[in-house]
């Protein structure tokens, strides 16, 4: 189980980093999204993995409820930021006429 979760996070973060390094805004946004999925999962399991347990501290065996609350906050923030980035990328496309992250044309000149 641990290995599976670890591999899952690694794949998410790895593909995320690869996409963030692309030169177009759309892959970058997808990369950020995948990266934040991986990070959210990581925060989620920082309270250790426990299967089929209630998230209530104190009453017998349980999973840690705190990382769940943390990850909820992180998801909300990440979602808002991604939405903002999408709008910004569209604005960039509209104002500079290209979806290159540096706002350059493909031949390298200023757009």
């Amino acid at each position: 189980m641990e290995a599976m979760v670890a591999v899952m996070i690694a794949v998410l973060v790895g593909t995320g980093v690869y996409l963030v390094l692309r030169a177009r805004t759309f892959p970058v946004i997808l990369g950020i999204t995948l990266l934040s999925y991986g990070v959210n999962l990581f925060v989620f399991i920082s309270g250790r993995l426990a299967l089929d347990q209630p998230p209530i501290a104190g009453a017998g065996p349980s999973t840690d409820p705190l990382p769940q609350a943390l990850v909820l906050t992180a998801i909300v923030i990440g979602f808002a930021m991604t939405a903002f980035l999408v709008v910004l990328a569209l604005r960039g496309q509209g104002e500079t006429g290209t979806d290159h992250v540096d706002g350059q044309r493909d031949d390298g000149g200023e757009a």
Binding site: I77, G92, V101
Partner: protein, 493 residues
Amino acid sequence: MEHLIIAPILIPAFAGMLLLLEVRERQPLRRFTGMLSVLALLPVAWLLYQQAAGGEIQVYRLGDWAAPFGIVLVLDKLSALMVLLCTVLAVPALLYACRADDKRGANFHALFQLQLMGINGAFLTGDLFNLFVFFEVLLIASYGLALHGRGPARVRAGIHYVVLNLIGSALFLVALGLVYGTTGTLNMADFAVKVNQLDGGALELARVAGLLMWVVFGLKAALFPLYFWLPATYANATAGVAALFAIMTKVGVYAVARVYGLAFEQGALAGLGRDALWIMALLTLLLASIGVLGARRLGEMVAYTVVMSVGTLMAGLAWSSPESFGAMLYYLIHTTLVSGGLFLLADLVARGRGKLGDQLVAGPAPAGRAGLGLLFFIGAVAVIGLPPLSGFMGKVALLQTVPAPLYWLFLLGGGLLALVGLSRAGSTLFWRATGDGAERRLDRPRLLATVLLLAAAPVLSIWAEPVLEATVAVAAQWAQPQLYIDAVLGGGA
């Protein structure tokens, strides 16, 4: 007075929300609400500073949950000083923006208030996850503010700024996951205690968490190699916003000082990342001074002096003696206010030169050339660190307390390069001017805001001794993390 601690967060939060409700774009009402909020923050910040100066560390338990279970706000001398500095900077910055810049996009005033809320919250919180949340608050407000006013250059710089900070936030979350996974706490004071009880693999994971936090705070502070976003973002932001952003890099410096001072100054992970911080700070200083020389616009040049100041401050911090920390704080106050003033001045010059803006080429003289030239001279002398202004005092204090020849070389060499760059800029803008510029008269409130910020340089030099005494007292408290830990955990245990 116990509840006063939370006022620097609540006042801008309420003002920001009220401003969001005002949808009919009544600009005078918005300006009034915004100014009222920052003016109300001034006495609050001053009172808090007075309270903290007494030496007692105040802990405010939100929801009355005992630390480490609940979130706490902590007011010690360091956080009180930073809140006061932020407020003092915000008043002229908003005054400047109120003249016309705030009309160029909706919700400028709401964003400005939320930005203040985020900055003040980051200074006051005693909880690592809460620090993350306040970082996000100040970042998302800063995204809006940096893009305020539109234009392709802003959008281009904005995309880099936003993507970089989103990656920074992801790294911060990984660090927080590791902190919670190893120590089971996110309270800063509790973390500082628990990290010393770790051993073996858990200690190594905590080390990774600490180093990841360095990267995140370094990105916020614009430390080499993570400063490349800053010049473009700051130089393209609206003037009032750029002036307020002068404190944003100091949030990163503060975060390093706070977490480092508590958890990594002594104990199991003592000296974590300190050598790297030292080297990075010196490289930042070097590259930023080259940036000052190479800048093609005045705004960009001022932005590079901000990066220079970050290198200067971080080196003082990495030396991590109470004396060097006190000197660093003096320099921090000076550089925040003066570079804020220089951003405003760059905009005043740009307005007077029509199409040329703040590009460093000879062109029409801006209106009020003599006055602006004098202001530029004062600002430049202060920011380079020539006698008799505050930059000089700060640098002397730093040179005395950081006895490392390498640092002296970089600090003085960087000062020399900045001197060359700024002299060239000044002579191009004010002496080699041809004819008269677009605007005939200087706008008085804008001039007032600029003068208010640049006045920090003579004020800080005349009252250098009491200010230095105050910052040394702050440093003395900072150097005793046990006081902070006892204040936070003592009440609940």
